[in-house]
Symmetry: T
Amino acid sequence: MSKVLVLNGPNLNMLGSREPEVYGNATLSHLIDFCTSTGAELGMEVDVRQTNSEDELIRWIQEAFEQKLDVVLNPAAFTHYSYALRDACAMLKSSNSRLIEVHISNPHARETFRHNSVISAVASGVIAGFGIQGYALALRALHDN
Amino acid sequence: MSKVLVLNGPNLNMLGSREPEVYGNATLSHLIDFCTSTGAELGMEVDVRQTNSEDELIRWIQEAFEQKLDVVLNPAAFTHYSYALRDACAMLKSSNSRLIEVHISNPHARETFRHNSVISAVASGVIAGFGIQGYALALRALHDN
Amino acid sequence: MSKVLVLNGPNLNMLGSREPEVYGNATLSHLIDFCTSTGAELGMEVDVRQTNSEDELIRWIQEAFEQKLDVVLNPAAFTHYSYALRDACAMLKSSNSRLIEVHISNPHARETFRHNSVISAVASGVIAGFGIQGYALALRALHDN
Amino acid sequence: MSKVLVLNGPNLNMLGSREPEVYGNATLSHLIDFCTSTGAELGMEVDVRQTNSEDELIRWIQEAFEQKLDVVLNPAAFTHYSYALRDACAMLKSSNSRLIEVHISNPHARETFRHNSVISAVASGVIAGFGIQGYALALRALHDN
Amino acid sequence: MSKVLVLNGPNLNMLGSREPEVYGNATLSHLIDFCTSTGAELGMEVDVRQTNSEDELIRWIQEAFEQKLDVVLNPAAFTHYSYALRDACAMLKSSNSRLIEVHISNPHARETFRHNSVISAVASGVIAGFGIQGYALALRALHDN
Amino acid sequence: MSKVLVLNGPNLNMLGSREPEVYGNATLSHLIDFCTSTGAELGMEVDVRQTNSEDELIRWIQEAFEQKLDVVLNPAAFTHYSYALRDACAMLKSSNSRLIEVHISNPHARETFRHNSVISAVASGVIAGFGIQGYALALRALHDN
Amino acid sequence: MSKVLVLNGPNLNMLGSREPEVYGNATLSHLIDFCTSTGAELGMEVDVRQTNSEDELIRWIQEAFEQKLDVVLNPAAFTHYSYALRDACAMLKSSNSRLIEVHISNPHARETFRHNSVISAVASGVIAGFGIQGYALALRALHDN
Amino acid sequence: MSKVLVLNGPNLNMLGSREPEVYGNATLSHLIDFCTSTGAELGMEVDVRQTNSEDELIRWIQEAFEQKLDVVLNPAAFTHYSYALRDACAMLKSSNSRLIEVHISNPHARETFRHNSVISAVASGVIAGFGIQGYALALRALHDN
Amino acid sequence: MSKVLVLNGPNLNMLGSREPEVYGNATLSHLIDFCTSTGAELGMEVDVRQTNSEDELIRWIQEAFEQKLDVVLNPAAFTHYSYALRDACAMLKSSNSRLIEVHISNPHARETFRHNSVISAVASGVIAGFGIQGYALALRALHDN
Amino acid sequence: MSKVLVLNGPNLNMLGSREPEVYGNATLSHLIDFCTSTGAELGMEVDVRQTNSEDELIRWIQEAFEQKLDVVLNPAAFTHYSYALRDACAMLKSSNSRLIEVHISNPHARETFRHNSVISAVASGVIAGFGIQGYALALRALHDN
Amino acid sequence: MSKVLVLNGPNLNMLGSREPEVYGNATLSHLIDFCTSTGAELGMEVDVRQTNSEDELIRWIQEAFEQKLDVVLNPAAFTHYSYALRDACAMLKSSNSRLIEVHISNPHARETFRHNSVISAVASGVIAGFGIQGYALALRALHDN
Amino acid sequence: MSKVLVLNGPNLNMLGSREPEVYGNATLSHLIDFCTSTGAELGMEVDVRQTNSEDELIRWIQEAFEQKLDVVLNPAAFTHYSYALRDACAMLKSSNSRLIEVHISNPHARETFRHNSVISAVASGVIAGFGIQGYALALRALHDN
């Protein structure tokens, strides 16, 4: 049974209480249940984690690299400046692991003043704007491909 | 039975012969079959079209607006400059129709010198980098939401 | 009796249903009636046309050049990037025909992220922000000058 | 009988002697007569003023705000940098008064090196490139709307 | 008893009637009373002035320089472009007088399109976003330091 | 008795030994005493903390969000790039908690080569350039408002 | 006998009447005769076409791709923004067909305000500034190489 | 006997007390004497004036235009943004009057963060970096030419 | 016996497995041995550390500041954005400790799209492009100087 | 018999040994033979020279100016920054001599990071991307025109 | 008797034949006579030189440095990019020699597309726009100061 | 015995007299002795040269290319713009010769306004900020690698 890491960056522990009109009402614990059960349907073991810490996120990406796991990553605010996270993701890219970048809201629609994602160039694919359903689409993409 | 328009922009009629290492080997007629049968599985009627003409693409978006259809759009090179297409898509956004922007390859990974998408800000969601599987993910997103 | 072409660019066939709080409730057919009757009052024959197609718009400008007609042009989204349309307009400028650029809404007030007009530098005059009344002002400007 | 202020910024007292091939031969006193008589035809009382002083122009805009008058403004060189004038104009915008920005020549055609207008975003409409006829168009626009 | 000049730039004479949701309901005369009484509590003589004129503001800064007074300055729209005001303020900085820049609203939050303050680099300190309370904080800062 | 968090970012544990001509001679422990006693005068419980860690700072902001506390934040170097911190602060803004950004020195005067603050747009107010007195002004602003 | 497509973009049907001091007096029909007879001298069959339509131009490039023909292309105003045309040309580049970009006037000398050519990066060679003689040089380059 | 206007912009009334290490110890009254006596040596009547007011400076330039006088202008801080002053100077340029721009210090050496002079493009010549001697050089240039 | 800290930033724990064609085959433990034995040859005690955490790196720099140690720093991805790390390094610079910035590969050759180093301006010297030999050069530079 | 100078800039003496996959295998002496014999066919005397020295190249351009010779110039790396060379070429342009700029490879395709040619704006024509055949095309262009 | 070097950069040997409407009719030999005789009047020995070679110009600046001579420099096209010349001039600046930069025409008026002077920041003064009279003004400035 | 060229660009013949607080007191002849004796210790023949001439430097790089020598290069001011030098260095890179770029001072710390090095991208390694010791480090790097 294949295993997938679903990794979530800073402030996603506040999901549901932070700007619900943008991010929806689902909380992190809903997100965990939703990813786990979607994974179960698809016959995948899904391990969902969240952290506000850049270096913890990097360690998890390195763990995926060593255990040859696929990753679904919502980098949240790190999207815009964390070259350290990017370097860790680039390692995955050069191996057989895949990395799918997910955003709950459509960052292009929401925020025009920020820089673009520094992660996208090293991701296999990007899914944005579908709320937490985006995670299910990412898992399915890993499953079907 | 719900109906969806799957619209494809310039040069996608050459799919399969154009840079296959980037766009894969599937041809437009494979793409049409793939979308139609994926739609059938999901109980959706899928109408797949392609054109090299900006004004024909605009007419199709206007048709979706009037018939209240959802749209999956691969704008191809129009992604980067067609404000005329964008204005048509903005109309959809203000109605109940949804628009999902699909790219076969990951434009962030492939081309750093081009401008970003002028379409994304008026799309409900964006899916990029999954080859023609991206169309299936888009149809599923419309179905499940 | 002098003749004037009133030319309208992409998506203006949707006038009245597209963002009415910005563009007003008048439809294209109202616009045609309004221009025609305003022209009649001023003793001008007014031929109002709309197209989503860049090359059709170019052909009409070339027609004005050959028949030495004045033009009122609402370039809509082509405002921002159509150098092909601009080149056609530049031809008019070097002849005795006049070209007045009209915008229904005030683009400076509405949209800060777009480029400026590529047409303005080859227009005789610009009128923006007056709704469809702007067309009447343009016709009057041609009449009185 | 409705009253309109027609306000003119720096150096317009030299109209007629300054670059006549760009600005025409009409002097400020011609302009005053032209606006007054055009207003009379339209049944409007027109008060035409000129100043080289930024704060005097601001006071006149504040006067229009308090007396609920419409304004036709040729900001001349202040167009490009006077945020103080702009703030005064923004007040008008939030009231029921209307502000029409007029330029005698087409600034897009004439000068490519300058910044855009900082006034336009708070104007109801913009008219440029018609010589002093632009003032008549502005008065008519106020009258007909 | 120490004396302080509290100087206010263009359009602040309209305080209370101009965009009250941004600038609050207090009028200039409230502001004058508030500063005077706050000064009285702190044992400071406070002289509050307002002008729309750049050169009057410069003269007042020069007066402070010559009389060795501290200044609280709300430069309003001059914030964004008045290098003449800035040069006058730079003179204060090289003397023993202090200059505190105050903004009623938080300009970083409100307006993204304008340039930054050209005054800040020559101010002793900056206080922004506290409504008219910001003036009291500035007076207290002068008093306590 | 109301409680306030006073949070300090990276390298502020070195206060007093780092560039004293810019940051003054007060150490972090002076700062803590100063804030605590100022708070006591104003009848506020003040909890002063410092960390070099972005995620610890984020956790503290989230704690303030959950306990509905006001925050005085000196983001230090995070001012210039931490969008993760910014997102946490944006949450506060949408609640009833207030956030005041404090800088010991005036960043506009000191450093021209860095980007502006990414925090300011989500702060209620900004106070900069008053040394550690700035913290007292911030506490007073929270108290009086 | 080898065959070459000579393709001409928007407004080149007006050759000879449009800014003759820049583009010369030769008309499109002269151009066609000139290319055909030059081709005949060189033993090449030359098919000269012109269109104002972006999608027609793309179709012709695709035709060249499928029939393995070399192309001489004067993209006219599309030079500056047509990524759709560029994508079609990129296909040629990855095949054995050659694409030579021709400009009648020297765009570097004439127009400083426009973007550079988006076509050049996918062309085999560029010839600019020789009037219609540039077409003969392009045909000779194809012949001799 | 020819007459020359020597015009000085904002803050030059403070000459001698403002940053003497940059601007020297001479005061405005020294400057007036120095210009007058230099003019006397050269047989020129020199009228030296100073103002902090933009519109007064404009009026003086207009006066020179009408009386056909040459002008030596130290625009001070207006150098960097006063398009209103620039427009007045442009008028001089189109007449037979000459305008020489003088700066006491070398602005290129002193300040890298400001924009360049907006006046230079309409000046006959520029002299910078020679202290008040620069005025004498300017008068001599007018005399000898 | 002098002591030196050799500090390594994020992802350098993966040395040897990450893009070996860029970073070489040596692992972190090789690097540690190499630095230690090079130090021994030069009579220096070398303490080699690695972390993915920005705040741990800052703590180590502060430790060097307090113990007056020299530092060899490979900031890895923090090179491009960590102003917090930079502020810590700036402290070293103002003391007698030296800081040498080392990069294993030549960042100028490898990556054109990233910003420059924010660390270099506060480093004593920079060594880049020599693989792990660069560390030996840095130690020798500290030894010989 | 007309004479032409064919001038080659820095490093072209290394032709054939420098990046042959970009510049081909022909050496400078092949190039000289090729140009001479092509010239002979066309009845032109061709003088081919190469130098690494900017001032020698300028002297040769000046020689062409004085002797009224046409020039074929491959400016090599000087393309990107030598305004001194450009000024010399501008002199040719104002005389009856013609200047054709030749590049062996297509600089637009090869190098995106460099500035554009500073020479092109003063060249009669530009030929790029045809290897050493480009010289023959240039000679022919001079011959036929 | 004091000695001054008057140094002239590339293409100034062509003075009089190059664009006389910009640079006047005086030739280099007129310029030499003019400078020498002006110097004689002022009691200065003037040595006028010209070169097209960057390194020769640098050697002359170094000679002035060693012999402690003042320099009048017309850097011509080197103005815009020769950092090598600039570094040589910076050496003069740190000694007691003075350097005056002279331009025959007003570069701000003539050329908007070029970079500014890289020399100005290390010059004592700048004189531009007075034709060859500018050299006399420069010599007088050296004499009188 | 391996041979190395140590090449020095413009103004380095003035080492010791030019800004000694930046470049130290060592003269060029010290530098030559230092490099020669360091080379002798390492068993390398070191040939140290200096020139102010761009083309001489290019010839020396070409000589290294042909004789397969390693190079230590201090490009001095050519660092910032000499693409001709860069092209010569790029040739070395494609051969087995190595090129090490050395700067005596740390250009990142000293000068923020200049462009980056155009040489670095074609260098094997870069060493900056160590005074003339940097040359010894470069020679050692060549020796040990």
